[in-house]
Amino acid sequence: MIAQRAPEDDDAPMDGQVPPPGRSAPASRNSASGVDLVAGAAAIGAEMAAGVAGAVVGTLEAAGRHLGRPVAGLARAVGGGPVGTRIGRTATRIADRGRAERLRAEADLARLLDAIVPEVVRAMMTRIDLNQIAADIDVDVIARRIDVDAVIARVDLVGITEDILDRIDLPEIIRESAGSMTTEAVHDVRMTGIGADEAVSRVVDRLLRRRGARRTAAPGQQTDGFTEAVERDRQEDPFP
């Protein structure tokens, strides 16, 4: 069973996952709630203290207007604005310190896991017989679940067949096994003619000091592989 994750936990890492080395784990809302609660309470307390102090100061100032400036100055010195601001700053410092401690603890935990987990996995691997596990796997069950037709549909069978037939030179095999003597003789005559044509051309081109192969491609004809064939003939030429 795969545990359902709450939508608000999208930022939290999956259970059992270790953050990559060198990176601290992202702050989990659940794990940080206690610390953040303290920090938040401190901040709220500071704000409330500042509000209360302000109200007291206002009251005292109103009374001061009646009691005179000395009393008002005393009230401002005892419970006025400077005191509330001081409390707020203290709470903020406490919250910052709490956040820093939490991040440091998370980084320490990540480093600890980086060091321990590989060793644990390695130790597990030495104690597990993978061959035995593989032997226990029922391949037939897996094979039955494979959609062979879908796999075949994605394979270019025609292209593969053409490539195989082209590489094994099937026509030549058929000719050798069942071809008539006439066909074989005709092919021999034709190939001999082509060889003689090439030889004559080479000799004449050499006499004419002509460089490069002849431009024998006819219009509208596919003539792949000719350059390689000419180069091969030149390399096999006994009279270079």
């Binding site: 099937l170 034709r190 003619g193 082509i194 044509d197 004559v200 024998t216 491609a217 219009p219 509208g220």
Partner: protein
């Protein structure tokens, strides 16, 4: 989609669609000459047979003077070449040697073009020798009429490719 396997041997494939050289084309021409001469004498024998059947007692082989004989061979050769080049693009000699005649577009020749080429070839057969010095393996007839004689071992005429699709040889 159907898998197609070329019936051409590996060694000959690179030359398919290339203009043929002097030796192959000369051998093809010799075979055609034998065909034409043989056809003439077969015709002569047929005419003689008819004459013998009509008048066995007074039968004599018909005299064939040099002029009419040459003229008949000439017409026979021109007709034979025109017919073959405008239909399959290959004569018997070309069939034996694996050649095919194409027009300037790489397609089968039209009757008029085939007739002109046949007249030119039969009148001046030595134009074939220009293949030796031509950098494009063209005979004199090919140069004038812009035709090509290619190695083509396939049974049927393949449709000509677009100019951009046909690969040009090394310069």
């Amino acid at each position: 989609m159907t898998a197609r396997v070329s019936p051409i041997p590996h060694a000959a494939r690179p030359f398919q669609g290339r203009r043929a050289g002097l030796v192959t084309r000369t051998l093809a021409a010799v075979v055609d000459l034998v065909v034409v001469v043989t056809a003439f004498w077969l015709g002569y024998a047929a005419v003689s047979g008819v004459l013998f059947a009509m008048e066995p007692a007074g039968f004599q082989f018909p005299d064939v003077a040099l002029g009419p004989w040459v003229a008949a061979e000439y017409v026979l050769a021109v007709g034979y070449l025109t017919l073959r080049w405008s239909t399959s693009g290959r004569t018997v000699g070309a069939l034996v040697m694996g050649l095919r005649v194409l027009n300037r577009n790489g397609s089968r020749m039209r009757p008029v073009g085939a007739l002109l080429r046949a007249i030119f070839c039969v009148t001046f057969p030595f134009g074939l020798l220009w293949i030796v010095v031509s950098a494009e393996n063209r005979s004199l007839q090919d140069l004038v009429l812009r035709t090509s004689v290619i190695y083509d071992w396939h049974r049927r005429v393949r449709p000509a490719l677009e100019p951009a699709a046909a690969s040009e040889g090394p310069a």
